[in-house]
Subunit: 198 residues, 2 copies
DNA sequence: TTGACAGCAGAACGCCCGTTCTTTAGGATG
DNA sequence: CATCCTAAAGAACGGGCGTTCTGCTGTCAA
């Protein structure tokens, strides 16, 4: 069973699919792909797509829909010039939005952005003006950086435990450790950080 | 014709759709959306989607497939003025919404993402593993943090001038100032920073 | 109390979609 | 000249998909 070795022209078809996807951000139906590929039969489109799936450029969701993989976005980029000082920069990909979002945000519905005020976490590399990406939930692990509500104010600190009691530890010696009396109200957990220069 | 005012629960449905999309990067069939939304009838799913289309969160390709728009990826930015106890104000509509990519990237075609190695800029709050958002260009101002090419390697340093000569200043006393002989090759300028926790 | 409407359930339908099978044309190969 | 193999075309089909319509239930205002 020779099955399917990657056809020579699959690269060409892949290129057309990438162009289409760049425009519409979806993989169309087989019928539409006939137009995209310049082919008249759906069966051959299926054969091509099956090979692209096997080659790892596309995958299927549980619903059978086809979505691109990371390899789908990979650019050819001249490898020989790597030594010449040119970038190995990983992410030369897709010049559109939702790249960084995808990276930082797992659960969009519970994620919110909160600007950082003050320098109490500066030793953790979190500066005033940075934007904290916070996943809203009220449970966290020791060592997580959390957004807690203390005295009716947001505060960003590292969650720790001291003699069975939760405490909030700043990352700046100029600030005191916060030892809340009673229960500690956690608003969310820091999952990412964004900084804009200039 | 009552048409459709945005239903109160549409925000909730949108949130579920966003979460699904974050996982699968596609909008599933109406039947699957019944499960996602926790709804039993496809007709109601269609009604919801129609409203989301009209509200500008999703749109349709020529093939009738549904794809997210820019607004679909917008995240709420909490106002710093949330002293009033519960900052649930974030949840309700009228806050500011931001798309992270648009926030950080002005010129997509010349912007690239480069992972940070080493701790030579740690005093500037730039840690190993952070991702630098770099705008590719070969001119920069004094004080800018630049990606320069030194000895065929990328290096991230602050651009400075010393006796009429450009130098690269690290933000870590353990590292030396770089004084390039001859011209200085600048790859790009740091315009943003991304960090992912956990 | 009575509608009027929003919020959904459920059935019914026609068409398109993905799949499979069969057939064809045109190189290679020998 | 016979034979493969690749690269398609094309027909045929069953089911799922989106669409439409009709019906049900709770709520709230008049």
């Amino acid at each position: 069973m020779t099955d399917s070795d990657p056809s020579a022209r699959d690269a060409e078809y892949l290129a057309k699919l990438q162009d289409y996807y760049a425009s519409w951000k979806s993989i169309p139906s087989y019928a539409s792909l006939c137009d995209v590929f310049g082919i008249a039969s759906k069966s051959w489109v299926k054969a091509i797509l099956d090979r692209l799936v096997k080659a790892g450029f596309i995958e299927r969701t549980p619903d059978g829909m086809m979505i691109p993989t990371r390899d789908f976005f990979a650019r050819p980029l001249a490898e020989s010039s790597v030594q010449a000082g040119m970038p190995v920069a990983v992410n030369e990909t897709q010049g559109d939005y939702f790249v960084i979002d995808e990276m930082l945000i797992d659960k969009p519905s519970t994620t919110t952005l909160i600007p950082v005020k003050g320098d109490s976490m500066i030793d953790a590399g979190i500066h005033e003006g940075d934007v904290a990406v916070v996943e809203k939930r009220n449970v966290a692990n020791i060592g997580d950086i959390v957004v807690a509500i203390v005295d009716n104010e947001f505060t960003l600190k590292t969650l720790d435990k001291e003699r069975g009691q939760y405490i909030l530890r700043p990352a700046n010696q100029a600030y005191p450790v916060i030892r809340p009396q009673g229960s500690l109200e956690i608003f969310g957990v820091l999952v990412g950080l964004i900084r804009k220069y200039k």
